[in-house]
């Protein structure tokens, strides 16, 4: 596993979408390679940031009422 391959698979690694073998190779590489480790930290932080920023909003109460009214005549 070299740096290019590691970076290529970084998102799949973060998304837990890799096969166990490839996952192990990436983990080993990240432990041995500080620059890739830094990039991993950065990408992980970015994904956490995105999730936190975008999930605050839910369906408006009025919409919920409207859906219930439409479905069940309430």
């Amino acid at each position: 596993m070299n740096c290019r391959e590691c970076v290529e698979h970084l998102y799949e690694f973060l998304d837990r979408e890799l096969t166990p073998d490839l996952e192990r190779e990436i983990r080993d590489h990240l432990e041995d390679c500080p620059p890739c480790g830094e990039q991993y930290d950065f990408e992980e932080l970015f994904l956490k940031f995105l999730r936190a920023r975008c999930r605050t909003q839910g369906a408006p109460a009025e919409l919920k009422k409207r859906v219930l009214r439409e479905l069940f005549g309430e």
């Binding site: 998102y11 998304d15 979408e17 932080l45 408006p60 919920k64 409207r66 439409e70 479905l71």
Partner: protein
């Protein structure tokens, strides 16, 4: 024994338990797809009506969220995309997102500048992504769905999900980075 449709109260009960609990997810995705709250309301309403009508076809206890999102996306494509947005003429292959990390590696490797970017600005940046990138990114990074689930909803191969996600994330990072430079959150050099 015949497969008679369940009595209305049972149908309602299972629909509330398995489908209505996903209202927030549907609304967030609808809002990102349609781009405005009023169309998002209509899209969710239409999705729920269609889902309730087709509820007998849904295999209970499987993946209601993915099933609902598939219905929502079809509704969006059929009735909203042409009406609410100009057809996209972007050549996706020509979009070459760059990785932000090498740009910030020396100045801010921890990505502290992200923390200064507020919710609205992030959502605005997402809304500027081409729709095929936007929908993939929202399903994955906002709603936490797996590649397989996303592939099912978008009706594309898993490999395409991967590549779209990779490019969508880099594209979004680039937009947020440019914004952070513009606002002076980070020195950098705008791409």
């Amino acid at each position: 024994m015949t497969n008679a449709p369940p009595p209305p109260d049972l149908k309602r009960e299972s629909f509330e338990r398995e489908a209505l609990v996903h209202l927030d997810v549907l609304y967030r995705v609808a809002l990102r797809l349609s781009g405005n709250p009023s169309d998002a309301d209509d899209l969710v309403q239409e999705t729920m009506l269609k889902a309730y009508r087709a509820w007998d076809q849904y295999e209970k206890g499987t993946n209601a969220k993915a099933w609902l999102l598939t219905i929502l996306r079809h509704a969006f494509i059929n009735e909203y995309r042409r009406r609410t947005r100009h057809p996209e003429t972007v050549d996706l292959d020509k979009i070459e997102p760059y990785a932000v990390f090498p740009e910030v590696q020396d100045e801010d490797p921890q990505g502290a500048f992200f923390d200064r970017i507020v919710d609205d600005q992030v959502l605005r940046a997402i809304d500027q992504l081409p729709v095929v990138f936007r929908e993939t990114l929202v399903l994955s990074d906002v709603e936490g769905m797996s590649y397989q689930e996303i592939a099912g909803i978008l009706e594309i191969p898993v490999g395409t999900v991967k590549s779209r996600l990779f490019r969508a994330r880099h594209l979004l990072q680039g937009k947020l980075y440019d914004y952070a430079v513009e606002m002076g959150y980070i020195k950098g050099s705008p791409a």
